[in-house]
């Protein structure tokens, strides 16, 4: 896109940024004004689905060639899925890797893959810079802080800075460089979470807005408290009045933000557009994605031409139960995920907005190939899905690894040394969303360490 500075939005942006004068990113934030506002129909959204706990990539996308399946099965004899249950993929685009298929629970997604609405990014994970197996073996490869720790690898994925402290995440920084240009008149943050606080959407200026699966939460007592209007007035004053104590100040800042936008959000969601007719599964992930669909549907009322969403599905830490069929098992979680994503795709079609909404998965790490009898342990690289009308789908991006103990990407017990970095994954999404080349280093400070900032899965 060709940048043209929008004066009004630039003014507003500079005002909003004034308090940032000492922040390290302030300089590059100013470059955000270079992001252009586009025509009225211009709209895009990114939807992050985080698979909390570390999804087992080995049982999500599985080699099905004779030799590939054999080494997979040899790596995890007690965990290997029966070969005849795996859903074979037929990727185009010159894919030269091993033949692979999907976990049977992902059946609702297979038609999306086959029809080009979904792509797979193989073996992606946090990297400090590109590394080789030889460097790993020699102990000379720089590694992300605390590999295999849930909390630290969540931080690494979401901050995009695996070997440095960071108080912001890359989606928040995307918001920093796009919100004022695209959403100059919106009272609602560009970054919205239906899954609680997260680092991914924390920016320098961008403050994530929280929704429940039932929308914004209205404080009913503001209208009156125990038969007294004065009580409601006092409540509002207490929740929003300035405070000198820092923790109290943070609390009232949060409350004031909540009260300030609740009416706008609730009003929009209560409108006809807020009533998305697509039926979503009555699961946590299903209902979160339903709320995302509703917020997309009311984007005009919210004056938002760019939206960034975060949802989460937990429970993927399959040290055990990996092959169990109960409601904690991998099969159950993947089924819930696939059904929710398929419903979301349908909703986007119904809203005629599919070309403008890209959904993608993350997870703090993949898992080891080697088994402990009942499950697998913490790993590193994993496979991820990208879904939407703009996706160049039915393809596998990155390099599908050799699924074998002792294979070329084996970091430890068959966990994967990533061959594509989170930076590259994120940069491809950010570029499509409208982040300019000059802003990319603000969003992803390490991107220049990697050869290709555009993996190509988005047109």
């Amino acid at each position: 896109m060709k940048p043209t500075v929008h004066n009004a939005s630039r003014r507003q942006f500079l005002q909003r940024s004034a308090w940032l004068s000492t922040a390290p990113l302030a300089g590059s934030l100013l470059a955000a004004a270079a992001v252009s506002a586009q025509s009225a129909g211009d709209y895009k959204a990114l939807v992050c689905i985080d698979l909390g706990g570390g999804n087992d990539q080995s049982n999500t996308v599985i080699p099905i060639s004779n030799s590939g399946y054999a080494s997979y099965q040899q790596g995890r004899p007690t965990l290997a899925l029966p070969r005849n249950t795996i859903l074979p993929l037929n990727p185009t685009g010159g894919y030269t890797g091993d033949a692979v298929g999907l976990h049977p629970s992902l059946a609702p997604l297979k038609p999306l893959f086959d029809s080009g609405r979904m792509a797979l990014l193989a073996n992606v994970g946090p990297l400090v810079r590109p590394i080789t197996k030889a460097e790993l073996n020699a102990g000379s490869a720089p590694l992300p802080y605390q590999l295999e720790s849930h909390s630290d690898q969540t931080q690494a994925w979401q901050s995009g800075l695996p070997d440095a402290p960071s108080s912001t995440g890359w989606m928040g920084r995307i918001g920093d460089v796009t919100a004022s240009a695209f959403n100059p008149n919106s009272r609602v943050s560009i970054a919205m979470s239906i899954a609680g606080n997260n680092i991914l959407q924390a920016g320098q200026a961008t403050i994530q807005y929280q929704l429940t699966t039932r929308g914004a939460v209205k404080v009913n007592a503001l209208d009156g408290l125990f038969n007294s209007q004065a009580g409601g007035t006092a409540l509002r004053a207490l929740m929003t009045g300035a405070r000198s104590h820092l923790l109290e100040g943070e609390l009232v800042t949060t409350s004031a933000r909540s009260l300030a936008v609740e009416e706008a959000v609730s009003g929009a969601l209560a409108s006809a557009a807020g009533n998305v007719t697509t039926v979503f599964p009555n699961t946590r992930i299903g209902q979160q994605l339903r709320m995302v669909a509703r917020m997309i549907s009311v984007r005009s009322a919210l004056s938002q031409r760019r939206q960034l969403f975060f949802v989460n599905q937990g429970g993927y830490d399959h040290h055990d139960n990996l092959i169990d069929e109960d409601n904690r098992g991998h099969a159950h979680l993947l089924r819930e995920l696939a059904e929710a994503m398929a419903a979301f795709n349908s909703a986007m079609n119904t809203l005629n907005i599919a070309q403008s909404v890209t959904t993608f998965t993350t997870s703090e790490f993949g898992r080891a190939l080697q088994h402990n009898g009942r499950g697998s342990d913490h790993g590193w690289g994993g496979h991820h899905f990208i879904m939407g009308g703009a996706v160049l789908g039915n393809r596998i991006y990155g390099t599908f690894p050799t699924v074998a103990l002792g294979g070329p990407e084996d970091y430890r017990q068959g966990s994967l040394m990533p061959t594509t970095s989170v930076d590259q994954y994120a940069a491809t999404l950010a570029r499509w969303f409208g982040v300019s080349a000059t802003d990319m280093s603000t969003v992803l400070p390490n991107i220049d360490r990697f050869p290709n900032p555009n993996i190509g899965f988005l047109g």
């Binding site: 295999e148 969540t154 931080q155 108080s167 912001t168 997260n198 403050i207 007592a221 125990f226 009260l259």
Partner: protein, 599 residues
């Protein structure tokens, strides 16, 4: 386990606190710091659940200098102390602290037993002492909530209860989306264990946690098989990793004051690496259900034996790895059995220089303040290292050091804009329940039951429910800070991890429900004794009413602006309606930032 990352894990840069010790941690666990009392070997059939914890016989430790011989605490000072050390001040407890002073009160609490055991409530009786179980099966999930609230707000052993609650947020198990989803009995037995060991030795506590079947189930090390080279099977690493990362030493080497140690190039130093996890994982093989003989049947199906969740796991030798185990500089020779391996592993973690500052700082955060000074952490670390009588890990010494620290007792800290902590939602509710002597129904189906079953409604819930943290990472990480001013200043504010646009609003709605009609299930709603009799007596004098609430609920920390905001709202209600005046005053007090942030 099944960590449910439903609330995203944010470990912003400062997550775990510092590091400490000398060289490679654990390389030579120093015996010079005294030996903790030996733990009973696992595998011993536990005694029947006890209703009253045995009094701990050791005399009060003397690590902290006695409080200055100042005047007895004032009501405000006593209330502030009780906000830190109990589930909430009451008029009676304030008077008790004023009467005997902080130090004697702590000693008195050390010697006070629990009113009941959660296991007995949930698994034996299915209800409060002397009351019939509900005529419905499968109530254990509700029973444990009732039992938690009963003991937390009515127990005379308030310091023990509050400490157990703090410990439950370090040694986390959860019924939320876990293998314990319907096991209120497991949670009850586990919480009993925390209560019974809250004032014991940390070494014992760590082993009790590690061998409790609820933890075994939650972090999946129950029935964990030894390695099998023929099939490539490795031990499950789940517990091995988390017992180091979360329950003892943390990720980074720490100094005594909680700051991170640095290597020669100024970098943080990890406490362990993946090979340590491999070695530690072997220790946690072969642990299985603790009721009955160590037969193959009991290994597989010991959960069929009654009481299986109330007996420590025992080691089934045929499933325990006897190959060499190396971790943290410790080498357990090949051929060592499960009990001995566990003892060595526990000793290694216990004696690691990180353990005092890592656990001590978190306990300070749970009880007193989110941002203790390094000197405060160091003083608590020293109490952990030596109780004054040469004993390491004496929890009484640690708790006393935390509460009697000059920083904790310094009244001027109330004016420090960085001091204090966000009161977590459960403690806001408990403050109300205790201050107004909330009562369970005296008749009917729910007689004697604190039916506070569900606090999770997103529109008017608390976003926090006992025994239901989203993952082993608790509701928040100790190093969390919300993006913004606090983060820029390098402060931590863990409870803000569940504080955001929707939860600040749902809390206000929650207050309206609680003050409107109490809280609880149907006819079982919990309400104040005598409908706020003491407060109604003050309703004709709103200033006096606020003075009373200020001391009782918020340790005298109500700001002038809060007071001047609430007063007109009370006065706007006719004096002929004292109950609405009282409810308005309480709700607005509890909605004020000065209440929500304890100083």
């Amino acid at each position: 386990m099944k960590t449910n990352y439903f609330a995203v894990l944010l470990c912003l840069a400062f997550l775990s606190v510092g590091c400490g010790g000398s060289g490679r941690p654990g390389a030579a666990p120093s015996p010079t710091t005294g030996t903790p009392p030996p733990s009973p070997p696992p595998g011993v059939t536990p005694p029947p659940a006890v209703v009253t914890p045995p009094p701990v016989v050791t005399p009060p430790p003397v690590v902290t200098p006695p409080p200055p011989p100042a005047a007895a605490p004032t009501s405000v000072e006593a209330s502030r102390f009780l906000v830190q050390s109990t589930f909430g001040p009451t008029t009676a407890e304030i008077e008790r602290v004023k009467q005997i002073g902080y130090d004697a009160w702590i000693t008195e609490q050390f010697n006070t037993g629990s009113m009941d055991s959660h296991w007995n409530y949930v698994a034996v009786r299915g209800g409060p002492i002397g009351k019939a179980p509900l005529p419905v099966l499968g109530q254990s999930v509700n029973d444990i909530m009732e039992s938690f609230w009963l003991q937390s707000i009515k127990g005379r052993d308030q310091l023990r209860q509050r400490t157990a609650f703090a410990l439950s947020q370090i040694f986390v198990i959860s019924m939320a989306n876990s293998a314990l989803e319907i096991n209120g009995d497991a949670a009850g037995s586990y919480y009993d264990m925390l209560s019974l060991n809250a004032f014991g030795n940390f070494r014992t506590l760590l082993e009790k946690v590690s061998t409790h079947p609820a933890m075994g189930k939650y972090l999946s090390h129950i029935q964990n098989e030894k390695e099998n080279p023929a099939t490539g099977r490795l031990p499950d690493e789940n517990y091995a990793r988390e017992v180091m990362q979360l329950f003892s030493i943390g990720l980074w080497q720490l100094n005594e004051d909680g700051s991170r140690r640095k290597d020669a190039s100024g970098k943080d130093i990890p406490t362990y690496d993946r090979t340590d996890v491999n070695g530690m994982a072997k220790v946690f093989t072969g642990w299985g259900w603790g009721v009955g003989e160590k037969t193959e049947r009991n290994w597989r199906e010991g959960f069929l034996n009654p009481g299986h969740y109330n007996a420590p796991m025992q080691n089934y030798p045929q499933h325990h790895s006897t190959s060499e185990k190396r971790f943290l500089g410790t080498v357990i020779p090949a051929g060592t059995n499960g009990e001995t391996s566990l003892r060595i592993a526990m000793d290694t973690l216990f004696n690691h220089p990180n353990t005092g500052p890592f656990i001590g700082r978190q306990l300070i955060q749970r009880l007193v303040t989110s941002n203790p000074s390094p000197a405060y952490v160091a003083r608590v670390s020293r109490a952990f290292a030596n109780n004054g009588a040469g004993v390491r890990g004496d929890m009484k010494a640690v708790i006393r050091a935390i509460l009697m620290d000059p920083e904790a007792r310094d009244a001027s800290k109330v004016n420090d804009p960085e001091w204090g902590k966000l009161r977590e939602p459960i403690l806001r509710l408990s403050a109300w329940l205790r201050a107004f002597d909330a009562q369970a129904p005296s008749s009917g189906e729910y007689v004697g039951r604190y039916t506070i079953w569900n606090l999770e409604d997103p529109l008017d819930g608390l976003a926090q429910n006992p025994f239901r943290a989203p993952s082993v990472f608790n509701w928040w990480r100790p190093g969390y800070a919300p993006p913004g001013e606090l983060l820029r200043r390098g402060m931590t504010a863990p409870e803000f991890q569940i504080t955001h646009a929707t939860t600040v609003a749902s809390y206000a709605n929650f207050l309206a429900s609680v003050l409107g009609g109490g809280w609880g299930h149907g006819d079982g709603a919990i309400g104040p004794r005598d409908n706020y009799q003491a407060e109604r007596a003050l309703a004709s004098n709103p200033a006096a009413l606020l003075d009373h609430l200020n001391v009782l609920l918020m340790a005298g920390q109500m700001s002038a602006s809060t007071r001047s905001t609430i007063l007109p709202a009370i006065n706007a209600i006719p004096a002929s309606n004292p109950l609405d005046r009282v409810k308005t005053a309480i709700l607005l007090t509890m909605a004020s930032p000065d209440f929500i942030v304890q100083k």
